[in-house]
Amino acid sequence: MTKDTPAPILIDNLVLAYGQHRVLDGLSLQVPAGSITALLGGNGAGKSTTLAALLGFVRAQSGTVLVAGVDPGMDPDAARRRIAYLPENVALYEHLTAAENADYLLALSEERKERRIITDAFAAAGLQERAWDQRLGGFSKGMRQKVAIAVALLREVPVLLLDEPTSGLDPRATVDFNALVAAVRDRGTAVLMVTHDLLSAADVADRIGFLEAGRIVEEVAASGPERFDVRALHARFAVAAERLAA
């Protein structure tokens, strides 16, 4: 990517309010292709609203939002076709098997895949083989999340949005998941994750932004083999959360 290529995720001076309450207040953020940005912030800092704005589910009062060059406020369907999204509370179809869920959702996004590719993604997401052809009715939260992760990773899109992606995953699955996200980044996808999980963010992100009262108050980039100083990050994150609570 050259310097002139616009970032797949571009937010500039975004203002968004629910009634009188300003949730995002001049938020600016860029996530270049082939990078992972983690947004950290306390409850109510505006993390989920940022994702909702990128997905075109809420309209901004002012500012710019672009997803791979498309304004989700103007053309949400086109923007969504450029996004793979993994929500915190995974919603899938319980009357379908894991493989049928993946096949249906990929067919809807016009990215149908062969069964072998789907099952490879399941395996990569850590879903056991015996679960591939079982209906989701009896799945645990972690198993559902693995199905959703596999579907999100199978989407060949320029943007991946992750909302608390590691909640509900055990430590081993979290490590595996982070490896998957890193692999997606390496194929040129712009990844934005919002999370409370500082360790996971520090493990996989290239940049970490601290969101407070609807704007990024501090941004840290990874550097060197040790990447982030987790202790220092934790101190900053805790301070930001306390300020917000106050």
Partner: protein, 479 residues
């Protein structure tokens, strides 16, 4: 495959995997088949019974011995209303109005022997017909299969999941419409196939049959749209189910039963006893043909004598008693017609009120459409009564004319031992009397009668469609 078809296919897959849905659908199809077969058997049995009774009545009339014509007037004649071919699909008011009439002089009787009076009280709850299944049961099945189509997606968060895969709100709604519409089509198809099988070759009835098919298709389509409209407007499936069952109960069960009661209260109809008393009172006022001082009949007598240029009735070339019978029947029939006209007008006003309520309930509008196209509505019943009265009047006046022309006044007033024989007319005359032949309305007339109901159902469909478009714009939004 387009997103719309993918969503439709998944909705159908959900229904198939839901055993309750499959069982309910199978029961509906079985119920429809039973309704088609029982209606067909019932109609066939009724048609044969009426034809047989009609034949027996005609034979009895023709087999009368030599008789005085006025005795034949009082002997009377039974006629039976033949059932139209479409009556098996929707028997309408036939079970309540009666199907036979006794025709006689000086009286205008009404129809008798409706199924309701001959059968158990259960008939009053509605005969199991294809029309009943489509009007009442099919919407309920569609509600149970479709109430969660959109509300479930919103409730479980999969609405956004669909949209995140690039499916637009319009595609989601169209997919659900396609799936539930397909179910409605399958639910309606057995009844329609049975309808065509019962009715046989459309021929002259092609137009009313087409109106019935379009009307029921529009009605089921309306329920599909209403179900999705409610499902799109609430956040929980449970709320959608409650709202839709309430809507069904009011529109399909309550209003069609309350509307006639409201109409009866608004436009009271005289009962048979009240009418008979009023007619008897008017008959007394009209005059007495046996009273020589009665002003009307005295004037009538003078006009007859003047017309024939004679001084006394004995000199008339025709039997004066026959002329009196002709005049008396003319007067009483005019009176009966006036009362019948008042009754018809009141019933028309009642029906107009019921159809007015039909604007609020598409079930009433569809019922009106269905009965009108099948020729089993009140207009069809009235058509039979009017034709029967015209036949009765012509028959009685023909007999009265026979008395005037074939029986001499002197014989008619004689009291000697042989007088009774001389007053009689030969028996072969009775067989020459024309039989009653019911003239069925044309297909165009039946279709025209069904149009107002069709317009109301289509109007409902258009409005519900616009509301669904509006409601679907908010799908997936934070509420």
């Amino acid at each position: 495959m387009s997103a719309t078809r993918l969503i439709a296919r998944d909705e159908l897959r959900l229904m198939v995997r839901n055993r309750v849905a499959v069982i309910a659908f199978t029961l509906l199809v079985l119920l429809t088949l039973v309704a088609v077969l029982s209606s067909w058997a019932h109609q066939r049995g009724n048609a044969e019974l009426r034809a047989r009774h009609q034949h027996v009545a005609e034979h009895a009339f023709d087999a009368q011995p030599d008789r005085h014509p006025h005795r034949v007037v009082h002997y009377g004649h039974f006629i039976f209303r033949p059932l139209g071919r479409l009556a098996a699909f929707d028997p309408g008011v036939d079970a309540f109005t009666g199907s036979s009439m006794f025709l006689e002089g000086h009286r205008q009787n009404t129809a008798n022997f409706g199924d309701v009076r001959q059968s158990s009280l259960l008939v009053r709850f509605g005969q199991l017909t294809p029309a009943f299944v489509l009007q009442v049961v099919a919407p309920l099945l569609l509600i149970f299969l479709g109430y969660g189509a959109l509300a479930r997606e919103t409730e479980r968060g999969t609405m956004r999941l669909l949209m995140l895969q690039g499916a637009s709100r319009g595609q989601v709604v169209r997919g659900k419409l396609l799936a539930l519409g397909g179910v409605a089509l399958l639910a309606g198809l057995p009844a329609m196939i049975g309808f065509v099988a019962i009715a046989g070759q459309p021929g002259a009835l092609a137009l009313p049959m087409a109106i019935i098919a379009i009307g029921y298709a529009a009605y089921l389509a309306l329920w599909v749209v209403l179900i999705l409209l409610v499902s799109a407007s609430v956040r929980r499936s449970r709320d959608a189910l409650l709202a839709l069952v309430a809507l069904w109960a009011v529109a399909v069960v309550l209003l069609p039963r309350v509307a006639p009661d409201l109409a009866s209260a608004a436009v009271p109809l005289q009962n048979r006893l009240q009418t008979d008393v009023a007619i008897a009172r008017d008959l007394r006022r009209m005059g007495d043909s046996h009273n020589p001082d009665d002003p009307h009949f005295a004037a009538f007598k003078q006009s007859v004598l003047k017309r024939y240029g004679v001084k006394q009735v004995e000199d008339l070339p025709v039997n004066y008693k026959g002329l009196l019978a002709l005049e008396g029947e003319r007067l009483t029939s005019e009176l009966f017609d006036r009362y019948a006209g008042k009754s018809y007008a009141a019933q028309d006003r009642q029906n107009a009120l019921v159809e007015g309520v039909g604007v609020l309930s598409p079930a009433i509008a569809l019922r009106s459409l269905s009965m009108a196209a099948a020729g089993t509505d009140f207009a069809g019943h009235r058509r039979f009564l009017e034709q029967a009265e015209a036949y009765r009047y012509a028959l009685v006046q023909r007999l009265n004319r026979m008395q005037a022309e074939a029986v001499s006044y002197s014989d008619d007033t004689a009291t000697d031992a042989d007088a009774d024989r001389r007053k009689r007319v030969a028996a072969d005359n009775w067989g020459q009397m024309p039989d009653f032949t019911y003239r069925a309305p044309s297909g165009a007339a039946l279709a025209a009668g069904a149009l107002p109901g069709l317009v109301i159902v289509l109007g409902w469909l258009a409005v519900a469609g616009l509301l669904l478009v509006r409601a679907s714009r908010r799908l997936g939004e934070r509420r």
